[in-house]
Amino acid sequence: MSGEAKNTNELYALLRAELRHELAQHEQLITLPEGSTLIEHSVLPDHLVILNSGTVRVSVPCPRRAVSVTTGQQGKVFGMRAAISGELPEIDVICVEPCNITMVPRDAFLDLLKNHPEIYFAVAKVLSADLQIADHILRSNSRRALPSLRIKVPKPV
């Protein structure tokens, strides 16, 4: 993982250098082609996925249609909620162009979290960002039944 990505990733930005270093030992840096699935709904991910570059589509699948949001936010972390709670994700995250990602094994992250509970600060920040995306979808759609619900979320500051 590049130094630049480390500084902009929403999880690592709040971690001490030693903790980042410890996680770095477990990291896998991968480039995925368009159409690859990073997170699949109802499937427990065994990694945290950090988007270093590229654009993904986050969608909430429903039987009639998917409510989706496109984001190209560098440094976005996916799979945190599933890692923390063990709950199955409700979303699909799919690359809409070639994406550079870092994968951190869930177990390695949870081990580190157990020994360094101060990481919960960073976890809370990641979960807050997830919630902001969800609220943005709700706000943009006002619970109206539209034929297609696709919106673009602005990159957070």
Partner: protein, 243 residues
């Protein structure tokens, strides 16, 4: 314990009888002792504003008693209800962690007690007590689950009657205790939202809500008497809902 608005004010978190059932407050005694020191207890009437959308974050609120609605403004400038917060929920977390303005206006739906903790105190509290971090993560996880549930509801519901039926059935998950004169298959619920608020919740007009509820009543599915609604035919409401 002082009494106000027909509920007991919980002054001392360490002696709160509800804490074991609450998502956030079920903390070890030491942490509860600190919580007791840093929180400011307030009691609010119905319709009180705890914070405003766009306001700089000052801290978080622990809703001890009562319910509150989280309202935001849609892209078209309309008021929409994101969700209803229940007792025990921590409100304002997202703003505090992202250091961004509150994303919703929080307004009490009934007389409520909320404990306020300033941002600085809360950050120190979380640093000093690891359990607090875990509880915060659990609360945010819960909030995300609710939000995605609502989003799924957007994708699933085609009609306003279906959305209202779904809302009524959701409320029926917390029915009022059984009473004399009610048939075994009838479910009574307490609805404190006005028709205007229900409209904000499902994204329609008050007139449409009124028309749909009137239709439910005519069909013999629902009886409404003030804030007490009785579901007379749950099966028919369930048949309206896709999933």
């Amino acid at each position: 314990m002082a009494m106000s608005y027909n509920f007991r004010i919980i002054e001392d978190c360490t002696k709160c009888a509800f804490r074991e059932h609450r998502l956030f407050c079920n903390l070890p005694n030491k942490a509860l002792g600190r919580l007791q020191d840093i929180k400011a207890t307030s009691v609010y009437p119905k319709g009180a504003l705890l914070c405003l959308e766009g306001q700089a974050p000052r801290g978080i609120f622990v809703l001890c008693t009562g319910r509150a609605k989280l309202t935001t403004t849609s892209a078209e400038g309309k008021s929409i209800i994101l969700r209803i917060a229940e007792p025990g929920e921590v409100l304002g977390l997202t703003a505090v962690f992202s250091n961004a303005p509150y994303e919703a206006t929080i307004e009490t739906l009934e007389p409520s007690q909320a404990n306020f903790i300033s941002m600085t105190d809360f950050v120190h509290f979380m640093k000093d007590y690891p359990d607090v971090g875990m509880k915060v993560a659990q609360q945010l996880t819960h909030n995300c689950r609710c939000a995605y549930g609502e989003i799924r509801s957007i994708g699933l519901s085609n009609s306003v009657p279906e959305k209202i039926a779904k809302l009524v059935l959701k409320w029926a998950e917390q029915p009022l205790p059984a009473s004399t004169g009610r048939k075994p298959n009838e479910v009574a619920i307490r609805v404190t939202l006005t028709q205007e608020e229900i409209a904000q919740f499902v994204g329609t007009s008050r007139e449409t809500v009124s028309r749909v509820l009137s239709d439910f009543r005519k069909k013999g599915w629902l009886r409404m008497k003030g804030v007490i609604w009785t579901i007379l035919d749950k099966d028919s409401l369930e048949d309206m809902v896709t999933t």
